[in-house]
């Protein structure tokens, strides 16, 4: 099998396994539907290209998530909207003015969650998205490069933030 055929095979397996997660990841970085579609495609191309270099030093999942988050981070850094980003701590201080009743709607809750994710700085956003995908702290640490202790702290903050935003009606 040639290197390209091997690369194609790895990509197809990765796309089948992580495709939906990559789409959700892109939504966490890009709110505009057209640009989000472009970002998803850019991520797929980046994953395909990178798999030519895959040497098994980490799991395919770690590799794919790293490439996807790095591509998405490059995307938001290029868009230069960093002035509007906040840290998890700062997000916890923001009262988003929503009411409890409205948050019972699934669509509304998802919309609100998306807005919260998109307001975060890239490094906090990475942890939030990986947490929502259900990865454990060790996997998150391997993907992001943060120490396990830092990951655990951030997850604790994320849970507190989500709880405050969704169960307390945005009261800070």
């Amino acid at each position: 099998m040639t290197a390209t055929a091997e690369q194609d095979r790895r990509y197809q397996e990765a796309a089948a396994e992580f495709g939906p997660a990559l789409e959700r990841l892109a939504r966490g970085y890009e709110a505009h539907p057209e640009r989000c579609r472009d970002l998803v495609q850019d991520i797929h191309v980046a994953v395909w290209k990178s798999l030519a270099l895959f040497d098994g030093r980490c799991s395919t999942r770690t590799w794919v998530y790293r490439v996807a988050h790095n591509t998405a981070t490059s995307h938001v850094l290029k868009e230069r909207r960093r002035g509007a980003w906040v840290t998890l701590d700062a997000a916890a201080e923001i009262n988003d003015g929503s009411d409890i009743e409205a948050d019972t709607s699934h669509a509304r809750a998802l919309q609100k969650l998306m807005a919260l994710i998109q307001s975060l700085e890239p490094s906090d956003r990475q942890i939030m998205l990986l947490y929502l995908e259900g990865l454990d702290a060790a996997a998150m640490a391997e993907i992001t490069g943060l120490k396990s202790g830092h990951v655990a702290t951030r997850i604790h903050r994320i849970k507190a933030l989500l709880s405050r935003r969704f169960h307390a009606g945005g009261r800070s």
Partner: protein, 190 residues
């Protein structure tokens, strides 16, 4: 993901997130190959556009270098052409050095590398983006000042003011951007 999370699991939010409707169709392998090629030609097109803007400056100031009368203006024009070519070359070289992700590098390292690269570009813009144009600009302006009617001292100050506002403004904006990036880098490392 179906991997069993540890005790940090919050099924409400994770289910909410993972149950999003899937909207986009999976890209076929052919589509991925095509987009990879298109991405390359998109970069080539952007480079051509930048080169076209540089070419315009080169053509205009080459014309000045040939047809303008005062020798200092000619020399100034030649230096501006040289500065334009130099800046274009630097942009091409630095564009090639843009960080590309592979899965061997974790997100923190990649993010730091991207920010440091941007910061360095901005903080050194005075050197590689502004300074090359200064000698040509000065030589180009001297005959204009010499030939101006009225008080030459006032004219010098006017030209000096214009240069300071223009070049100083470019430098200040870039330095401010670099400072903002440094804060982000510090936060990442903190």
């Amino acid at each position: 993901m179906s991997e069993a999370p540890d005790d940090m699991t919050n099924p409400d939010f994770q289910n909410l997130w993972q149950s999003q409707p899937k909207e986009m169709t999976v890209m076929s392998l052919d589509q991925v190959h095509t987009r990879a090629r298109a991405f390359k030609s998109q970069i080539q097109w952007r480079n051509r556009l930048e080169h076209a803007a540089s070419a315009l400056v080169v053509v205009v100031f080459s014309g000045y270098a040939i047809f303008l009368d005062p020798p200092l203006m000619r020399l100034g024009s030649i230096l501006i052409v040289a500065a334009t070519l130099l800046v274009s070359l630097i942009l091409v070289v630095r564009g090639r050095a843009a960080p590309v992700s592979d899965g061997a590098e974790d997100c923190l390292d990649f993010h730091r590398r991207a920010l440091i690269r941007q910061r360095n570009l901005l903080s050194s813009a005075w050197l590689w983006y502004v300074m090359p144009f200064v000698p040509g600009f000065v030589l180009f302006m001297i005959p204009a000042i010499q030939n101006s009617a009225g008080d030459k001292g006032v004219t010098v100050w006017i030209y000096l003011g214009i240069a300071l506002v223009f070049f100083g403004g470019v430098i200040a904006v870039n330095l401010l951007g670099a400072r903002g990036l440094q804060k982000e880098i510090d936060r990442l490392e903190g």
